[in-house]
């Protein structure tokens, strides 16, 4: 079983090697004539004002939190999706449906709440 993952790791190694070669190429092949103006960050031609690392809208943070919740939900749905055919074949399809439909419904309520409360509005 573990052996089936080896080719994937092999591909990972080769991809890593390729990307490293490209990075080293970027480092050593091009000309090197740095100066302060060149190394400024771009701000439409003006001198940059302050640092970019400031506080940004809490909306992004909220999206990430809601994403975690639904990601966990979807992860629970995969085992169900894989075995649902077997459950139906064993005659217990409706029984499993009675387990998973409330689960989905509970989370659909959560999604509805988020939408109604404006947690996902980016207009303002």
């Amino acid at each position: 079983m573990l052996q089936t993952f080896f080719p994937l790791f092999l591909q990972l190694l080769m991809a890593g090697g390729l990307a490293l070669t490209l990075l080293l190429g970027a480092k050593y092949l091009g000309p090197k004539r740095p100066n302060l103006i060149k190394r400024q960050v771009y701000e439409s031609g003006m001198d940059p004002v302050g640092s970019a690392h400031q506080r940004y809208s809490v909306k992004f943070y909220l999206v990430a939190m809601i994403f975690i919740v639904f990601d966990v939900e979807v992860v629970f749905l995969y085992p169900w999706a894989v075995t649902f055919k077997d459950f139906i074949a064993a005659g217990s399809g409706l029984g499993v449906l009675a387990v998973i439909l409330p689960f989905i419904a509970i989370l659909a309520i959560g999604l509805l709440y988020d939408i109604k409360k404006g947690g996902l509005d980016f207009d303002s």
């Binding site: 809490v58 992860v75 509970i106 947690g119």
Partner: protein
């Protein structure tokens, strides 16, 4: 390469990454160390034939939770801690020795009582780690806990929205 050998390699990297997470002074490098640690843990699951758990570990922890961590670090602009050079090296040695002693004591206690986990052969885990087996247990025996998890997640969603709303004026 036996699974045991791989397990020890991954375990060493995981512990190194965990230490790196603690030692790193800038929050972003701490987060990167933690991501490496999470990948190692996924690898550990793989060596124990729990492939579903391994992939879910990457999907949920590395793909979702750490993204939130990075977001928070970037959005709040958490400053880097001052460098650790002024901390006494003897403190570090003491810490390592203390942890070693604790590990040894817990091992001794666990093996003299019956707290040690029973030995499981790797071959038998092949049958229990697959998605199918997980699902069959999850939707029959553990159906009620599953619904409770649903309710917990619902509470989390509502909590997240309320938290963010209280911050915004209006």
């Amino acid at each position: 390469m036996t699974p045991q050998f791989l397990f020890f390699c991954l375990a060493i990297v995981a512990i190194t990454a965990a230490l790196g997470m603690l030692i790193a002074r800038s929050p972003v490098s701490s987060a990167l160390w933690l991501i490496l640690n999470l990948f190692c843990v996924a690898g550990l699951y793989l060596t124990m034939n729990a492939q579903f758990l391994a992939v879910v570990q990457v999907l949920v922890y590395a793909g979702a939770i750490m993204v939130l961590f990075l977001f928070v670090i970037m959005l709040l602009n958490v400053a880097a801690l001052p460098s650790v050079r002024d901390i006494d090296w003897r403190l570090g040695v003491g810490f390592v020795l203390g942890v070693a002693l604790l590990a040894q004591l817990s091992y001794a206690i666990a093996s003299s009582t019956d707290l040690m986990p029973a030995e499981v052969s790797l071959e038998s885990t092949v049958a229990t780690g697959s998605v199918e087996v997980v699902a069959k247990e999850l939707f029959t025996r553990f159906a009620m806990p599953l619904e409770m998890i649903g309710v917990l997640l619902l509470a989390a969603t509502i909590g997240a929205v309320l938290l963010a709303r209280r911050v915004s004026p209006k």
